[in-house]
């Protein structure tokens, strides 16, 4: 059935591939789609959200948060690339946890994923409504109802996801590339290299207005520069060559975001005083308006809309894969583990999450929705260093083949754990009640899983990777 020539993770012959795909998800994606999935989810954070770090601690605090969050997410990307290139299945970190840590951790991680992505999808839909309302206001029409545009954004993207993963992520690729190019164009157009520049860093930059405590508080919103890059793992079961494409797409994604984050900070703080920038709803759009160029204003307006749609699109894709994988393993009712026989998508998981996203998008305030998304993401990042340390301990490098081996282990894991601790404290300073409420929620559902749900799980069937026995067992 296999030999050494084809014994590369994720590489199969045509006949094998056809046989294996009966009833399963389609393996049709390439590295560009992985890049688009990761960057697409995140890039909206450059267009809005990151600038609240400026409000917390000033322009330099936002830059320091950008660097530290950049280190945090580089660790996330490296760790994820190694583990997911080996555990190449839908569910991403949920499936990793199931194989490496245990069922209760996996159940919690699965819920972190679904919550983080569904809340982010709702936040993006709210933003689409806000953008349309803003454009209507600019044309002189006041009092536009944003609700139909919020509902349309969610329904359109759910429909796209329902119809097939290739079209979904190709759409993400096009609009993400446009949004990223818009940031590059804004930087080049305002740069002093091409003549008179509107940037006024010398006049606008100040010392840290709230000292180092402001820098700590800025870490909370510093996550926005990169929040969601780990979403690339969810495509593991639909990518043609997981061992190559997942590390390549994820690491190219984090490099793209480091560039985008730095350019965004540089242009924005050079055009707006920190007191204004720290409260702006759409900072890059405002930066374009401050540049005085109509073409840049239109470009960044479209870029903002595209970044928002790309993020919501990726979130639907990722949340549904996590929910589907949990259903397939009977961690949730197996009804959710169905694949559409024609479109090869987890259609029931996609449908189930639509009303949940609609409820939060139409009924919850934006800052609460975003905070719940960040908190779930942060819990997920805290799991990752423990996961990779256990992975290396149970299956050392010489025991199983990996698509990518991250360097300097365990330094990235320890760094990630320390930065997560600092960020938890930063979040606690601003949103302590939500943090405690969220942890209480996960404790309650963990008890439900342990005492009730786990009896339905087929315990032997859930471990599918053809790995040798772990060391010490």
């Amino acid at each position: 059935m296999s030999d050494t020539a084809t014994n590369t993770p994720g590489i199969a012959g045509e006949a094998e591939r056809a046989a294996a795909q009966n009833g399963g998800l389609l393996r049709v994606l390439g590295p560009a789609h992985i890049w688009a999935l990761g960057v697409g989810i995140v890039l909206v954070g450059e267009y809005m959200g990151w600038n609240f770090a400026v409000g917390k601690g000033g322009a330099y605090a936002a830059l320091i948060a950008c660097w530290f969050a950049g280190i945090l997410y580089s660790c996330v990307a490296m760790i994820d690339s190694e583990v997911t290139s080996t555990v190449a299945a839908a569910g991403g970190q949920y499936t990793q946890a199931k194989h490496i840590v245990g069922p209760l951790m996996a159940f919690n991680v699965g819920l972190y994923l679904v919550f983080a992505y569904t809340m982010l999808e709702a936040a993006n839909a709210i933003t689409v409504g806000f953008l349309v309302e803003t454009v209507a206001g600019m044309t002189g029409h006041e009092g536009l109802d944003p609700q139909p545009f919020i509902v349309l954004a969610i329904m359109f993207l759910a429909w796209l996801n329902y119809r097939g993963v290739l079209a979904t992520l190709t759409f993400s690729l096009v609009i993400t590339a446009f949004a990223f190019s818009s940031i590059l164009i804004l930087f080049l157009a305002t740069s002093p290299v091409f003549g008179d520049s509107p940037l006024r860093h010398a006049e606008l930059m100040t010392d840290l207005p709230y000292g180092w405590l402001g820098v700590l508080a800025a870490m909370h919103f510093g996550l926005w520069y990169y929040l969601g890059i780990e979403g690339t793992c969810q495509a593991a079961e639909e990518v043609r060559s997981p061992a190559r494409s997942l590390p390549f797409g994820t690491l190219a994604g984090i490099m793209t975001l480091l560039i985008a984050a730095t350019l965004t900070w540089y242009v924005s703080v050079g055009l707006m005083p920190w007191e204004y920038l720290g409260q702006s709803g759409v900072p890059l759009f405002d930066a374009a308006r401050m540049s005085g160029s109509t073409a840049l204003t239109v470009l960044l307006g479209i870029g903002t809309l595209f970044a928002t749609l790309a993020s919501a699109n990726g979130c639907i894709n990722d949340a549904s894969r996590a929910w589907f994988a949990m259903g397939r393993d009977h961690y949730l009712p197996s009804w959710f583990g169905a694949v559409h026989p024609v479109y090869r998508t987890p259609y029931r998981a996609i449908i189930f999450l639509v009303p949940i996203a609609l409820i939060f998008a139409l009924g919850a305030p934006l800052d609460q929705v975003i905070t719940f998304s960040i908190l779930s993401g942060l819990l997920e990042y805290t799991f990752m260093p423990l996961n990779v340390i256990l992975f290396r301990r149970k299956w050392p490098l010489e025991t199983i083949k990996r698509g990518y081996e991250h360097p300097f282990h365990p330094l990235p894991a320890i760094t990630l754990l320390c930065l997560c601790g600092i960020t938890f404290f930063a979040v606690f300073l601003g949103y302590g009640t939500q943090l405690v409420a969220m942890i209480a929620f996960y404790i309650v559902v963990s008890l439900w899983f342990h005492f009730w749900r786990y009896r339905f799980v087929r315990r032997a069937a859930q471990f599918t990777m053809p790995w040798p026995k772990p060391q010490g067992y």
Partner: protein, 55 residues
């Protein structure tokens, strides 16, 4: 302005059409295929056939 009022109605209509498409296709699919077929996906099918994860 009229165009924005119209846009609101168009957005509601498009959302309803897309929602109806999804629901109709979902019900049709569930009635045409057995539950075994629909839930026949197994994690690691491809890996189990092509990989030994050995060096």
């Amino acid at each position: 302005m009229l165009i924005w009022n119209l846009a609101e109605y168009v957005a509601w209509a498009l959302a309803a059409v897309l929602g109806a498409y999804i629901i109709i296709d979902w019900l049709r699919t569930d009635s045409r295929y057995s539950e075994e077929e629909l839930t026949s996906s197994r994690e690691g099918q491809l890996e189990a056939m092509t990989e030994q994860h050995e060096l």
